[in-house]
């Protein structure tokens, strides 16, 4: 019996690396994909990194061909600034309601010349850059963002606050700015749903003993990634808040691990990557890595660790870490592995926080009819069947929305979800 | 042991010289043929006209007494001869080839390039004291031969070719057996084996490698060092005389595009040289367009690019044998230029052409950390 649905579109939620991989793979088999992304850009978290472990490949160079393919793929309907509002129906026949916010810029007319940025009178902290630099109310989050089309932040745009301003529209030579764009409600009929909504980082404000936001030059991992990024707020120059080059730095692993109750599996590796970042820009910098257990599974990862060790980094197995300001510098008191209390003084601290679920994860779970586990990640049906399968047939969870993991595992899961969808709809197979 | 190393464990066989060195070598080869160690020998003889030398493949051991291993000129590069013999695959008979180290090295390179099958070939090299330029030799063959023999006796290389005068590999052992004559008493020479094949031959002939070859090694090392110094200086001089592109073009300005250098070169083994083919010929309108944009265009237009292209194609295997310069009717210092370039290109990969059959060609190897000095240092 041929159970192939006349409607065979797939909904993919999230255009990060997992969502992009799944969409491209589905398109290859001639499936139509509706790829929903809540931000104005694609690429998710991975495009914030300059390099990825363990071969230090340029992250954007790795991902942007995929982003480019995505934008030119006729089978993929990319809906940006959009969220899923409602899901009804049954496996094989879901009825999805999407809420799409307007970009206020016409994607066909705009050529990405950025002439509309300068004239905008509003300047706000750029969230993509983790607040380390500013942007305008009409903006592209960073150089190289794809699609290369700005959007208007109505919360800060003067016009949308009731003031009379059309500076951006006046500057545009292509009639690309359209203040009259409206919110859209889109209804889709899909065969299956892949949830690839990613993660956020544990907020170190919840662990005040690390001094985050109280002491200058204590950065989170993402802030430091942006500092190092060549398209970031300092064009890749690693400098302290006072503009000076740090002579010493400490990278603290496992931020939030105790509170969250699990190991996020990627932080040790990216902390070692940070070591490499620092040494490559500041060869004489003295680096301390404070960790509890070194978690570096992965066949090529220990090699990388050995390489970093050889650069003279001091690795300290530490507990009871407390970070305080000491004059112009930062003091880190801790108990070392022998039980002795120690103190190190550094110029800069980088905190490697746990990977935690997105703030809206449980809300989306409700809409989709799936559940979250007690950590807040989407719950798989049974790990021993497949970690991408949920108790709701037709709804798959992939990437860090299911649990912390590295890019390789994320891509495998994205491929697996597509494998499961395509497998079930092979001709002659009963769903 | 491949060249002048100073390991005191190296031993060799001492052969006492009866009458002349040449006779004794030929005797050794005759004995080997008598005992069936090889069935034929590829060796130089003086041509009947008496004004040149050529390789012959001989099976009649009686003819060995008239042969002339390592003749005063290189009429044909020995590697080319071997290449012809196994062009269509190896034969069933064992052949011994006795030639100069650079010819042996070219043979090794051609084997790596899939052009020679060494299975039934035994390579025997001999210390080389140089080769005379062919054009000047044939002006007066008798007198030149005498000059040659005198020069060898006192190890004086002023009459030899420019590339030979700066050759530091004239005693390099790259084949199966090597006959060492440098620095030994006039009435003896060494035979050393380099491979299992070579050792088996000595065993079959009842020759035991138990004599200390230190004197020879020391002389070889000394000679190599001296030549390396001369080589460095010669290359420096050559480079400074061709320090820019215009000067380089001038060097080749009287090239007549005969491609003789390529034909004489042992490494140039292509059946159809790229530069002889239609690939370098363009539609006539294209020539006119170039002429229009530059004012005029030289014909034949691929004169210089032929040399650069040939350099790119063969430099990593160049053994500095000098055949190209001998063959050039316009006396362009091709060998000196190509030899100097080969030193540099091979030096980039720490490779010496023809030194070892086991060492793969640089283009076929991939090493992660290589040429980092020319890479953009990002991390």
């Amino acid at each position: 019996m041929n159970n192939k649905n006349s409607n065979s579109d797939i909904l993919v939620i999230g255009a990060g690396i997992a969502g992009i991989e799944a969409s491209l793979m589905l398109s290859k088999s001639d499936r139509k994909v509706h790829l929903i992304e809540k931000n104005s850009y694609t690429g998710g978290m991975s495009i914030k990194f300059e390099e990825v472990f363990s071969n230090m490949e340029c992250s954007t160079c790795m991902i942007s061909p995929k982003q480019q393919d995505l934008l030119q793929d006729k089978n993929i309907n990319l809906i940006m600034l959009a969220t899923v509002e409602d899901v009804k129906g049954s496996p094989g026949d879901f009825k999805v309601k999407i809420h799409k916010k307007p970009r206020y810029v016409d994607m066909d007319n705009c050529i990405g010349c950025t002439a509309c940025f300068d004239p905008c009178p509003v300047s706000i902290k750029n969230e993509f850059e983790e607040g380390l630099s500013t942007r305008k109310a009409i903006y592209i989050p960073c150089a190289g963002a794809l699609p290369n089309v700005p959007c208007i932040d109505t919360n800060n745009c003067l016009r949308f606050q009731g003031k009379d301003c059309q500076a951006c529209q006046d500057a545009c030579m292509f009639n690309a700015i359209d203040f009259n764009q409206k919110d859209e409600k889109i209804e889709l009929n899909v065969e299956a749903i892949i949830v690839a909504t990613g993660y956020k980082l544990f907020d170190p404000n919840n662990t005040p003993h690390y001094g985050y936001k109280k002491i200058n030059d204590v950065y989170t991992a993402l802030e430091f990634e942006r500092l190092y990024a060549s398209n970031g707020p300092t064009q890749g120059k690693i400098q302290l808040k006072n503009g000076k080059t740090p002579k010493s730095g400490a990278i603290i692993h496992c931020i939030g691990r105790d509170k969250q109750g699990y190991c996020s599996s990627v932080c040790c590796m990216y902390s070692l990557k940070f070591n490499h970042y620092l040494k490559s820009k500041i060869p004489e910098i003295q680096i301390f890595e404070l960790y509890t257990d070194l978690c570096i599974p992965g066949k090529s990862h220990q090699k990388f660790y050995e390489k970093i060790k050889q650069t003279g980094t001091t690795l300290i197995r530490a507990t009871d870490i407390k970070i305080t300001q000491q004059g112009q510098k930062i003091a880190i008191t801790h108990t070392d592995e022998k039980g002795k209390k120690r103190n190190i003084i550094v110029d800069m601290v980088i905190l490697s926080p746990a990977i935690v679920p997105n703030t809206d994860a449980s809300q989306l779970a409700n809409i989709l009819g799936i559940t979250c586990d007690d950590l807040g990640f989407y719950k798989e049906e049974n790990q021993n069947i497949s970690s991408v399968v949920t108790p709701k047939p037709g709804v798959f969870i992939v990437g860090c929305s299911q649990g912390p993991k590295n890019i390789q595992e994320t891509v495998s899961q994205a491929n697996a979800a597509v494998g499961k969808i395509l497998s079930a709809s092979q001709e002659g197979i009963n769903g | 042991m491949n060249n002048s190393s100073d390991s005191s464990e190296d031993k060799g066989v001492v052969i006492q010289v009866k009458n002349t060195q040449k006779e004794t070598v030929n005797d050794f080869l005759k004995k080997a043929m008598e005992q069936g160690v090889f069935d034929a020998v590829l060796i130089s003889v003086k041509v009947p006209a008496g004004d040149s030398f050529a390789y012959v493949l001989l099976t009649d051991k009686e003819l060995l007494k008239d042969t002339f291993p390592l003749p005063p000129i290189m009429s044909v590069q020995g590697a080319k001869a071997i290449s012809s013999i196994t062009r269509r695959g190896k034969g069933n008979k064992k052949i011994a080839a006795i030639m100069r180290p650079c010819e042996i090295r070219a043979t090794v390179e051609l084997t790596k390039l899939g052009q020679i099958d060494l299975d039934n070939i035994v390579l025997i090299s001999m210390d080389c004291f140089g080769v005379m330029p062919t054009p000047s030799f044939i002006k007066d063959p008798e007198k030149s031969l005498k000059k040659f023999e005198d020069a060898i006796r006192i190890e004086d290389d002023t009459v030899m070719r420019p590339v030979c005068r700066i050759c530091d590999k004239s005693s390099m052992v790259a084949g199966d057996l090597h006959i060492g004559t440098r620095g030994v008493q006039k009435d003896a020479f060494f035979i050393v084996s380099n491979t299992k094949k070579g050792k088996d031959i000595l065993d079959k002939l009842g020759l035991i490698s138990n004599k200390n070859i230190d004197t020879w090694l020391a002389k070889v090392k000394e000679n190599a060092k001296e030549k390396q110094k001369k080589r460095k200086q010669a290359h420096k001089d050559l480079q400074s005389s061709i320090k820019n592109l215009d000067k380089f073009l001038d060097t080749f300005s009287h090239c007549i595009n005969c491609h003789n250098c390529m034909r004489a070169c042992p490494i140039c083994c292509c059946r159809v040289c790229y530069f002889d083919s239609d690939k370098m010929k363009h539609p006539s309108d294209d020539y006119l367009r170039i002429a229009k944009s530059k004012g005029s265009i030289r014909f034949l237009p691929d004169t210089t690019i032929f040399h650069i292209g040939r350099m790119v194609h063969m430099s990593l295997s160049c053994v500095s044998c000098g055949s190209c310069e001998d063959a050039c009717p316009m006396s362009i210092p091709v060998a000196q230029l190509f030899s100097m370039t080969a030193d540099e290109t091979q030096g980039l990969f720490d490779y010496i052409a023809g030194k070892s059959l086991e060492e793969p060609l640089p283009l076929t190897t991939f090493i992660k950390e290589e040429l980092s000095e020319v890479e953009d240092v990002h991390d």
Binding site: C113, D373, V388, E409, S412, S423, Q426 | H282, H313
Partner: protein, 562 residues
């Protein structure tokens, strides 16, 4: 040759128009030979622009098209499609990037204009030597050969099998199931492995579209994506039969082996009684027979993590978890037993692992961090000696020692890698195509890897990779759909080739074979990826790359720099 080259310079809004004097560029290229028209346009990628170009090609009877505009990454495809629609071969087109590579990076307008002129001239110079290239289509076989009948192979087979796609599952031993058949439970859920495995075996055996061949050794794999020929030798008692398969894809799911601690003097494995490996313990536990050599029940056990980690140079990811699972096994079967786990770093990389560890700790077990360890057997009592965290020497006497060894590549990895022309990584596992984005594909198109054959991993991650492989195959090898191989491929001229095999040695994709009769190398254009390695390495100029010939590149360069 009557060429009519049309040159169109895009203003790209202010991007190019404000930074480059376009009229000057037009003036410079118009008089060139074969240029039949050179003009400017506001925005060539817009709908009007595309229409304009198509009309221009038709109206002017153009034979070649040059566009000076943005990056090929943006619109190469767009303009090639316009060529096709207008009736000229899409490869008779060249795009000069005067935006990203000129206007956007050159401040001085005069400099930028001169550079734009050179870039456009270079494109014109090159396009003269372009030749039409045609896309090809070849038939493909949707069937799959899965090598390895463990959980990865079975999972992949189950997801792939359909009436239109036959799966041939070959297994070296006499049974399906692989290493999981030796385990009692999985971690962290403590679910029954026999049930999981039997479930899979039943599904595979009952699936009409999967044919299982046990007692098989692979002897040859020839061909390429869409058209492989695999041969196995089946040993049935004394009979040996040869079986051949025609398939479109090959999956390597050959699992892994355990590091052998015999040669390591620190562990006493093979020397002392009651020092066993994890696998031996699993088997013992599954049989319900945890006993010492003398038949007695052990009262104390030491579990040593990271055995062989230093030698192998990587963490095997699952050993800490299964070592903790052993604590559960033992607590369950021998409640009074005293257990000590000796580890260097605790590796608990999944969301539920830490909880599993914390819930396994109890009064009767210790987790002790060590940096070095030695096992001795004085007076026939197994003794574990190590340094504690303060650096003091400590020793423990135990009845039984379980060693948790590293996972290493299976013995068949080298042979299979050679057959399929893929590489092994530095650790000896099959090398994936890309560490991040290509974990289950390899450098040979159509050859996939899954499970521990790719690297140590848990059952859950193995299942994921098997499903991922299925996804890859399902999306690229579609029954009835032809495969479109790459157009810009290498070609080796038979008359120029000297048979030196340099190209063969440098090809990473197994494209080149040596014809021993003609003594020349031959490139399989169907699997060639067009990387150009062979062309660069060829010492006789026999190898050339379509659309990147020596003349095309030479003309482009000449116009750009001279």
């Amino acid at each position: 040759m009557d060429r009519k080259i049309g040159v169109y310079i895009c203003e790209c809004g202010p991007n190019i128009a404000e930074k480059i004097d376009i009229d000057k560029v037009i003036k410079a290229v118009s008089p060139l030979d074969d240029v039949s028209i050179a003009t400017r346009y506001k925005l060539l990628c817009s709908e009007q622009g595309k229409k304009f170009l198509e009309e221009q090609i038709k109206k002017n009877g153009l034979t070649h098209l040059v566009v000076a505009a943005c990056s090929p990454r943006d619109h190469q495809h767009t303009f090639m499609t316009i060529c096709e629609n207008a009736g000229i071969n899409p490869f008779l087109f060249q795009l000069a990037n005067i935006r990203e590579q000129c206007a956007w990076i050159t401040e001085n307008k005069e400099e930028a204009t001169n550079k734009a002129i050179r870039l456009t001239k270079a494109a014109i110079g090159r396009v003269r030597y372009h030749v039409p290239l045609e896309k090809k289509e070849i038939e493909s076989n949707p069937d799959v050969l899965v090598i390895g009948g463990g959980i990865a192979g079975m999972e992949a087979s189950l997801h792939l099998a359909s009436p239109q796609r036959k799966i041939y599952l070959v297994e070296k031993t006499s049974q399906l199931g692989g290493v999981v058949t030796n385990l009692e439970k999985t971690f962290p859920d403590m679910q029954s492995c026999p049930k999981i495995i039997q479930d899979k075996i039943d599904q595979v055996t009952n699936n009409d579209n999967i044919k299982v061949y046990t007692n098989c050794e692979v002897t040859e794999i020839l061909g390429f994506f869409g058209n492989f020929e695999g041969t196995v030798t089946q040993n049935n008692n004394e009979d040996k039969t040869t079986v051949g398969f025609n398939v479109g894809a090959v999956v390597l799911a050959t699992g892994c082996a355990l590091f052998d601690p015999t040669d390591d003097p620190n562990y006493g494995y093979g020397k002392f009684d009651n020092v066993i490996t994890a696998l031996e313990f699993e088997k013992m536990n599954l049989a319900g027979n945890i006993r010492l050599k003398n038949g007695k029940t052990p009262k104390s056990v030491a579990i040593i993590h990271c055995v062989g980690r230093d030698k192998k140079g990587y963490c095997s990811e699952i050993c800490c978890m299964y070592s903790i699972k052993f604590v559960r096994y033992l607590q369950n079967k021998i409640p009074e037993i005293k257990i000590s786990n000796f580890y260097t770093d605790l590796c608990l990389p999944e969301k539920s692992y830490q909880k599993f560890y914390e819930q396994s700790r109890g009064k009767k077990n210790d987790f002790i961090r060590i940096d070095s360890i030695k096992i001795t057997n004085p007076g026939n009592k197994l003794t574990i000696t190590h340094n504690d965290e303060q650096g003091n020497k400590k020793s423990h006497g135990v009845d039984m020692v379980i060693l948790s060894p590293a996972l290493e590549p299976s013995v068949d990895t080298k042979k299979l890698a050679e057959f399929t022309r893929i590489s092994q990584d530095d650790e000896g596992f099959f090398a994936e195509e890309h560490e991040k984005l290509g974990p289950v594909t390899t450098s040979t198109e159509g050859v996939y890897i899954a499970g521990c054959a790719q690297g140590p991993k848990s059952i859950q991650n193995t299942l994921i990779q098997a499903e991922a492989v299925a996804g890859k195959i399902l999306s690229s090898l579609i029954p009835g759909k032809k495969i479109e191989p790459e157009v810009k491929v290498a070609h080796i001229s038979e008359s120029f080739c000297i048979g030196c095999k340099t190209c063969l040695t440098v090809c990473s994709y197994g494209v080149i074979t040596f014809d021993s009769t003609k003594k020349v190398c031959v490139a399989n254009e169907v699997i060639c990826r067009g990387c150009g390695n062979c062309v660069a390495a060829c010492p006789s100029g026999a190898a050339s790359l379509k659309h990147f010939t020596f003349n095309q590149l030479r003309q482009e360069l000449k116009e750009a720099v001279l």
